[in-house]
C-alpha cells in the first residue's frame, strides 16, 4: 500500500500560483495542504492563512491558527503538508525546524526556491522526526507523488 502523499499537478500549480501572487517576488509565503480525514493521503486542497511576511520570513499568529483549526474541524479535513517559499535556495532553516504548523512525527514540509518562480524544480521536501529534528525526505516519490490530474 502506498503511504506517499498524492497531489495532482493542477493543484500544486495552483498552490505555486497563489504563493507567487502573494509574495510578488519579494516576500515569502506559506500555505497548508489539506486532505479529508477519510482519505488523509490524498491532497484535496490548501489553506492560505493570513500571515506577516518579509523577504526572509513568514509568521502566522495564534488567532489566525485558531481560524485555520475552525476551518479544518468544519470541513473534516487535516493539514498534511506545509508549503512555503524561500527567496533563494530551498532548504529547511532553523526557523522552519522550530515553528511548523503541525508537530506530529511524519509531517511533511515542502520548501519552494526563488519565491516559486522556478516551479517545482529544486524544491526541498523534509519529514518531521520529532523533537525539532527534520530530515530530507528522499527519495521524494516515497513521500510525495505528483500525479497528472
Amino acid at each position: 500500500m502506498c503511504k506517499a502523499l498524492l497531489i495532482s499537478h493542477r493543484l500544486l500549480d495552483a498552490v505555486l500560483a497563489e504563493a507567487k501572487r502573494c509574495g510578488s517576488n519579494f516576500r515569502e509565503c506559506v500555505t497548508y495542504l489539506t486532505a479529508s480525514l477519510e482519505a488523509p493521503r490524498v491532497v484535496d486542497g490548501y489553506l492560505h492563512p493570513q500571515h506577516h511576511a518579509s523577504s526572509v520570513m513568514t509568521e502566522v499568529s495564534a488567532e489566525e491558527l485558531g481560524n485555520v483549526w475552525d476551518d479544518l474541524l468544519a470541513t473534516r479535513r487535516t493539514i498534511v503538508c506545509q508549503v512555503h517559499t524561500h527567496p533563494g535556495a530551498a532548504f529547511h532553516s532553523d526557523t522552519d525546524d522550530r515553528y511548523p504548523v503541525v508537530h506530529s512525527v511524519g509531517f511533511l514540509s515542502l520548501v519552494i526556491p526563488d519565491f516559486g518562480y522556478r516551479g517545482v524544480r529544486d524544491v526541498h521536501l523534509a519529514v518531521y522526526l520529532g523533537e525539532g529534528r527534520w530530515e530530507a525526505a528522499t527519495p521524494r516519490e516515497n513521500y510525495l507523488v505528483i500525479s497528472d490530474d
Binding site: V56, W69, S93, D96, V101, H103, V105
Partner: protein, 87 residues
Amino acid sequence: MNDRFEVIFEYNGQPFSIEVEGNQQIEGAWHRALAHFEIRPQDAENLGLFKDGNQIDRNQSFKDAGIQPGERLRIQPIVQRTGGSRV
C-alpha cells in the same frame, strides 16, 4: 458523586476524547492527547491548550479551569513561522 466526564481534545482537525476527573490536573490528559497525535513532549514548547480562543493554564484541575463535560479543548501552535535565511 461520580466526578468523571469526557472532554475532547482537538488537534489539526482531529478529535480525541478522554475521560477525566474534575479534580485531575489538565497536564496529565494533555500528555495523553499529545501521544495520541504523535507529538513528542519536547515539541510541546510551541503548543498551547485553548478554550474558546483563550490559552488556558494546564497546571490546574479541570474543575478549577471551569471545564464542563463534553467541552472541546484545542491543541494548537502559539505561532507558526518560516524563515529563508541561514543562521
